[in-house]
């Protein structure tokens, strides 16, 4: 079954429109909650007068920051947020107060009746100003000026590396922020009864929401149940606890009635947590043959007003530079600063995307300087299976070379690169990414993924997993793994997932960890169940376990023609004295952390590799770039479900395309969002998106479930530089600033170069 395309187990309910997303849930007596948001980028909250709102008929409760005074945050080092601002608002759109009312219209009217006295503070909107400005402190915990964190990591002998280099390039690159733009806005429904608090929420991380609710509401975890209904896209945007989850819960406790809060699109943009804006300087030395001798990289990340995942983003920015090419020496310096903007966080391809753009474009420039073929310079420098990078990343399997060759072949590289008519070109770039982080976000010794499988005499099994299907198809992956091990049809496997009241803990859907970690846990659980089934069946049949095989829902003597026992009968036999039949599995990554400060970000049990080739057309008069196609090769270890894996690669490639040409999340001079809806925030429509050919490369990871590694995030990285490198082939200009703007392309063309 593994390796054959399977339709999603939730697909029929989705095409029928019956799948229940959070906002589709209606509970008896349910109230509607809404948040009042700050119009100012930076201000002290002097007084919040809620009396008029409270007096409005139909309003059931009004709360402010004083009602939820405990701070929280995604990382242990970034507990700097409040569900509602307590004393200070740090960006336009920050929640200040909230109401629960009979319906949405009353709730909106009530918000208008809340009076907030603000004392305006100077706002910092420029990250370079944030680096030096000491008179304004956005967060007290900033180490200097408004710097959240500075990082410096040095591996190998960098000076010697540059001395050995015969050619050194130093370039500056920038990339603006971008947003996830999931189609489903955030939504949460809280219900508080004598049984405790239940929260249905559109989250990628039920476990972290669970922990945060307990912390902020001062309620024991066992009194809280977090359920993730069907989820309409995440990409990192639902990857941490959000104000609406805490506010809906507090309002439900206050009112004794269920409360639903659904963000509108502008609120989603205010919430952000998207890609950081980057300013980067990259210096790379190479030998005459193009072999990399040393890399020096520095970057400044515009973090926005809160920590979020930012420290991890910052470390990833340097740590992932040592893949997919052999880098013998690396010096990395970076800083993440606070600014008065919606906070940035994790977005698909987290941390590696902007630096990878810089690295791959510079590598092409180096190849061009040396007269080398861009494919050739990549193959010469490629890491291989068994390598350990200079920053201690262990490569357990690697199909990078194959990816480069497959992508190049798909666009006819050797015949066409440098030979297409003016205005048309092909380009190529590589990348690599983690299959989950080896270390958890907060220190604990739990397995990262747990799975319990129960079997029933009806012949089916139920997989219980905390993993969060956010649209990527993790529920289907779990069903497939269980079905494979137990030789059952997919229909005989039920998946119950992402319900902290029922399912064993899983850290959630981020860092592309689920197939590798929950997949391994599921495989182990299914194997344990199978062993118990065999033992029971062997006893009943008077045969040895070794003589039995499981095939298409029956247990039989190996190569016997007659079925010996159905799966359900075997379950009954194995239940023995009447205890239910279960299998359990857990996955905890091996100890892979580097032995240095920061060595916890980057290590993964396995790395995916990829290479994309782009074909573009550049209109030299207007500077407009059209991407005709992307050939996206990705080493995912093993394609458990090819159609699903292709979908991940295609979606990621098109998202990368969007970041290359269209997407900008930024604010104006007053800190107001320039794009706060889908008319202004441009991401690819079906007419913009290029054709994508996904090329799955299987390197069979020794530790992956059936050899599988990540596929959903790493397949974004190479798209961006592949397009930029193709623009060079087409028009002879190098673009260092993203997103690419037609006027900069046109200007570069008229200057006759970069």
């Amino acid at each position: 079954m593994i390796g054959k395309s399977q339709p999603r187990i939730d697909g029929v309910s989705k095409v029928r429109g019956t799948a229940m997303y959070t906002d589709d849930i209606r509970l008896p007596g349910m109230l509607v909650g809404k948040l009042l948001r700050s119009p100012h980028a930076h201000a002290r909250v002097l007084h919040v007068d809620t009396s008029a709102a409270e007096a409005l008929p139909g309003v059931k409760a009004v709360i402010t920051g004083r009602d939820l005074p405990i701070a929280y945050g995604m990382l242990p080092v970034s507990q700097d947020e409040h569900a509602l601002a307590v004393d200070v608002v740090r960006h336009v759109g920050e929640p200040v107060a909230a109401v629960a009312a009979m319906d949405e219209r009353i709730a909106s009217r009530a918000l208008d009746l809340i009076n907030v006295d603000y004392e305006l503070l100077p706002a910092i909107l420029d990250p370079s100003e944030a680096l030096v400005r000491n008179d304004v402190k956005i967060q007290d915990r900033a180490v200097e000026a408004n710097v959240e964190r500075r990082v410096r990591l040095v591996f190998g002998d960098v000076e010697d590396g540059f001395r050995r280099a015969v050619h050194v390039r130093k370039d500056r690159f920038t990339k603006k922020g971008a947003g996830h733009a999931s189609l489903e806005p955030h939504a949460a429904i809280a219900s508080f009864t004598q049984d405790g608090l239940t929260l249905w929420t559109a989250t990628q991380v039920p476990h972290y929401v669970h922990r945060t609710l307990a912390r902020v509401l001062q309620m024991p975890m066992e009194r809280i149940r977090v359920i993730k209904p069907t989820l309409g896209g995440g990409f990192g945007g639902k990857g941490e606890p959000m104000p609406l989850e805490l506010v809906a819960s507090a309002l439900a406790v206050r009112c004794g009635r269920p409360v639903k809060i659904t963000y509108d699109r502008e609120e989603v943009f205010f919430t952000n947590r998207g890609r950081h804006a980057y300013t980067m300087e990259l210096e790379t030395g190479v030998t005459a043959e193009g072999l990399i001798t040393a890399v020096r990289f520095s970057c400044l990340l515009d973090g926005g007003a809160y920590g979020s995942f930012g420290v991890v983003t910052l470390y990833y920015s340097g740590q992932l530079l040592t893949l997919p090419y052999h880098v013998p020496a690396l010096e990395f310096q970076g800083a993440r600063v606070f600014t008065n903007k919606p906070a940035c966080g994790a977005q698909r391809g987290h941390g590696g995307v902007a630096p990878r753009f810089a690295f791959e474009v510079q590598l092409d420039r180096i190849a061009s300087d040396l007269g080398l073929d861009p494919v050739e310079i990549r193959l010469r420098n490629q890491v291989r299976s068994g390598d350990v990078t200079i920053n201690e990343l262990k490569v357990t399997s690697c199909g990078f070379g194959e990816c480069v060759e497959a992508a190049a072949e798909a666009v006819g590289w050797s015949r066409r690169r440098g030979r297409l008519p003016r205005g048309r070109g092909v380009g190529l770039a590589g990348g690599a990414y983690v299959s989950g982080a080896a270390l958890p976000i907060y220190f604990n010794d739990m397995p990262h993924s747990n799975v319990v499988i129960t079997a029933d005499r009806d012949g089916g099994v139920t997989v219980l997993s905390g993993a969060a299907d956010i649209g990527q198809g993790s529920d289907t992956m779990l069903a497939l793994v269980a079905a494979e091990v137990l030789s059952l049809p997919m229909e005989a496997v039920r998946v119950v997932a992402a319900d902290t009241g029922i399912t064993p803990v899983d850290l959630g859907s981020y860092s592309s960890r689920v197939t590798f970690m929950a997949g391994n846990a599921c495989r182990q659980a299914a194997e344990e169940l199978r062993d118990k089934l065999f033992a029971g069946a062997a006893e009943k049949l008077g045969l040895a376990v070794e003589d039995l095989e499981l095939r298409a829902g029956v247990i039989q003597k190996i190569s016997a023609a007659e079925p010996a026992m159905s799966f359900g009968e075997a379950v009954a036999a194995a239940e023995g004295a009447g205890v239910p039949l279960t299998g359990v599995g857990g996955y905890r990554p091996p100890d892979l952390a580097g032995r240095y400060k920061g060595g916890g970000v980057g290590p993964s049990p396995a790395y995916s590799f990829g290479a994309h080739a782009a074909e573009v057309e550049v209109d030299e008069l207007t500077g407009e770039v059209r991407v005709i196609r992307l050939a996206a090769a990705h080493d995912l270890g093993r394609a458990l479900n090819p159609v699903a894996a292709e979908g991940q690669v295609e979606g990621a490639a098109v998202m990368g395309f969007g970041e290359t040409l269209l997407e900008i999340h930024e604010v104006d001079g007053h800190g107001r969002l320039k794009a706060s809806d889908f008319l202004e925030y441009k991401f690819p429509t079906s007419l913009d998106a290029p054709e994508v050919e996904s090329l799955l490369v299987e390197s069979n990871d020794p530790q992956g479930p059936f050899g599988a590694k990540e596929v959903g995030e790493g397949s974004l990285h190479p798209a961006i530089p592949a397009i930029i490198n193709a623009v060079y082939d087409a028009a002879g200009v190098w673009i260092h600033d993203l997103p690419l703007q037609p006027h900069t392309v046109r200007a570069a063309i008229s200057r006759g170069g970069s």
Binding site: S5, P7, R8, D10, G11, V12, K14, V15, R16, G17, T18, A19, M20, Y21, D23, D24, R26, R105, H180, A181, S182, L183, E184, P185, T230, L231, G232, G233, F235, T262, D264, R265, I470, G471, Q472, G473, V643, A644, E646, G647, E650, G651, A652, A653, V654, M655, D677, F678, L679, F683, P684, T685, S686, L687, A689, E691, V692, S694
Partner: protein
């Protein structure tokens, strides 16, 4: 508040609605038809697409009183009992569904288009779906699914014609 009568998925319904209420709100909140999705409230994402007298419209922009006496089809009205519409089947089988939030609107836009043309070129399909944003699939398998459905629907039409 006014009383409105219209047909939804073959059923005549009668509801009371506010003057400013949209068809999307009425479908989701008054009729419990939550298959129609609310993605942007601005007519920009297409997740709220339904068919009005067979043509695709954005239900988040349409005041519900405008549908008085007319015929609305939502995603829930496409399958015949347990039997999926060929477009639904094709989306499911071709891997055109990931998170699924855009899917109902996408399928209805595709249906309205295929009802006018069962021999679409790749570019025609992309054009027909240009108002339905998808963030998951990159549209590759969505376009494939519509092509597949068109083939199946052509076959069905031919078979019926032969009978």
């Amino acid at each position: 508040m006014r009383i409105l009568r219209f047909t939804v998925n073959g059923d005549l319904v009668e509801i009371g609605a506010n003057d400013s209420e949209t068809l999307l709100e009425a479908l989701r909140d008054r009729l419990g038809l939550t298959g129609t999705k609310r993605g942007c409230d601005l007519g920009a994402c297409g997740a709220c697409t339904v068919l009005l007298d067979g043509r695709p419209i954005l239900s988040c922009l349409l005041p519900v009183w405008r549908v008085q006496g007319r015929v609305v089809t939502t995603i829930e009205g496409l399958a015949e009992g347990p039997k999926l519409h060929l477009l639904q089947e094709a989306f499911h089988m071709a891997g055109a569904v990931q998170c699924g939030f855009c899917t109902p609107g996408m399928i209805l836009s595709a249906k309205a288009y295929l009802d006018t043309n069962l021999n679409p070129a790749q570019g025609d399909i992309r054009e027909a779906l240009a108002g339905n944003l998808c963030r998951c699939t990159g549209y590759v398998k969505v376009v494939e699914a519509v092509k597949l459905a068109a083939t199946w629907m052509r076959d069905t039409t031919e078979r019926e014609a032969a009978r």
